[in-house]
Structures are given as C-alpha cells and as structure tokens.
Symmetry: C2
Subunit: 165 residues, 2 copies
Amino acid sequence: MTIDKNTDAEMKIPPLYMTFFMLALLMGCYEPKEIHEDAALFSKGEKITNDKFTGTAWLYMLATPDSLNAMYAGLVTFEPGARTNWHSHPTGQILIATKGEGYYQEEGESKRVLRQGETIKCLPNIKHWHGASSNSEFAHIAISDREKGPAQWFQPVTDKVYNGN
Amino acid sequence: MTIDKNTDAEMKIPPLYMTFFMLALLMGCYEPKEIHEDAALFSKGEKITNDKFTGTAWLYMLATPDSLNAMYAGLVTFEPGARTNWHSHPTGQILIATKGEGYYQEEGESKRVLRQGETIKCLPNIKHWHGASSNSEFAHIAISDREKGPAQWFQPVTDKVYNGN
C-alpha cells in the first residue's frame, strides 16, 4: 500500500472557505428530511372522543357518505395500544394499512398482524376489531358503505383479548 | 463590528480527521433518503394493457370485489399524460390521490387539478375521466363497488379535451 507523503502533513485551509463548505454540506442534508415529512400524505385529523375506541385514536375523513353515494373513507391513526371496540358493517369493509404495525381480529379467529402496505377485506356483518400493536403507532384507510345502514358497535376489546393470539 | 483576528489566519487540520469528518457528514445525509424510498407504500403493480386507457398506466389491486363484499380498491399509477377513457360507475367512486399531480373531469364540467393528499367523490353514473397532468406522474387509490354492476366504458379522452380547461 502506498501512502501519499502528504497524509501526515497538515493541510492549510482558510477558515471562511471551510465554514461555507460545511454549511453547504449541512444544508444539502436537510432536503431529504423535508421530502420525508411530505410523505405523510394526510393530516391526522381530529382526536376521536366517542366511546367506541380504547386508547387514543385520530380520524381524518377522506370522503363522507351521502344519499347519492353511500361509500365513505377515512384515515384512522391509532397510538400504540389503541383499538376500536368490537363492531360490524352491514356491507363489509376494506382496510388499507398506511403506517406502522397493527392488529385485525374477527370473532372466533386468531389475531392477524397488519403492516404498512397490507390490506384487509372484511365481509358484511362479521364482528371484528382493529388497532395499533402495543409498541407501534398504526394508521389505516377504512372504507365502507352506509347503503345498508351504519356500523354496529359492541363492547370494548379487553386487554386479555388484545394481548392474546 | 468586531472581527476576530483569527478569521484571517489559516486553520491547521490534519487531513485524515478531515476525511473522516466529511465521510461522517455525507453518510448522515443518506439515511433520510432511505426513509423516503420506504414512503412508496405500494408496488406499481402490473402495466395496464387494455384499451380503456391512453398512455402508460399501472394497476396494483388492493381489494377485489366478490359476491359477499362487492367493494373494491386499486392503486392506479399514471405516467405523465396518461389517462382513463371516459367512463362511469353505477355506485359512484372515491379517488384518493397519493402521488404527484393529476386531473379529474366530469362531462360538461371544468377539469379539476388533483394533488397528492386530495380526494374526489364521484356520484353514480356520472361520465368522467382521470389521469396524470402532462408533466407529473400521478397515482390514486380508486374505490368503487360492483353490486350494481361493473363500470361502463366509453371513448378515449382526446388531446383537445385533455389539454382544455
């Protein structure tokens, strides 16, 4: 291996040039961070204050149901440990996980792990719950239809069920 | 203004320290870029080869319709200039823009610009088209329902309409 004889020497750099060079490098670093922040597509919306959830969750409505088009979609963001109560939808539901790791469970079935980018299609009138895992925030787009009426809501998901299989 | 007498001096820095410092700075810059790449939630899926589109578009199905839950959702990615033909849905549609800038137009109405994070709710049987703007890739999640039958497809969107208001 050849070592340039200058590597042991001391390089002389005017400090103002040095400062500008460092600044340029550091400013270059900030750009990708801004892009990353833009990657959060939607607002978290409003904190959910009804009694249909355990823990803290947020709702950002994307499309509301009306008499001409009964479909609706909303982004739900769950803090770690937060989850819906048991509930069912008369026309079923589609869940598209957009952030973190969460759970989905139908009554009588095992709990499933849902990760960012994965989708669940739930059949009509199947009792189920969904929410964040205990150590990750979780967000999903929830899609359903009010044509056959609203969702039916049942009891909270106990810690025993939440922590079970 | 007081100028430190050292600003005109030359700073002496061993070149090896300097190299490691630069490398550390530059390596720090790469991390947010990796996060940004993870922000592409879904695959682009398969190139669309039917004659219902102008230009190049891609489909990644998120949820397919079936006899028990007729709702469906798919991510459509349009290259710049690409668009659907005119079409309509018997139960309407929800479009959630997830990337870039595109257009949405209903027959007899002005063309609307749709940007990442914005949503359109389209009424049943309204003839419309959607696609990328001419200088931006565009992606949206398209949500509809097959309960009242499939979408109806019409003629391609001419360049005159595409470039109009």
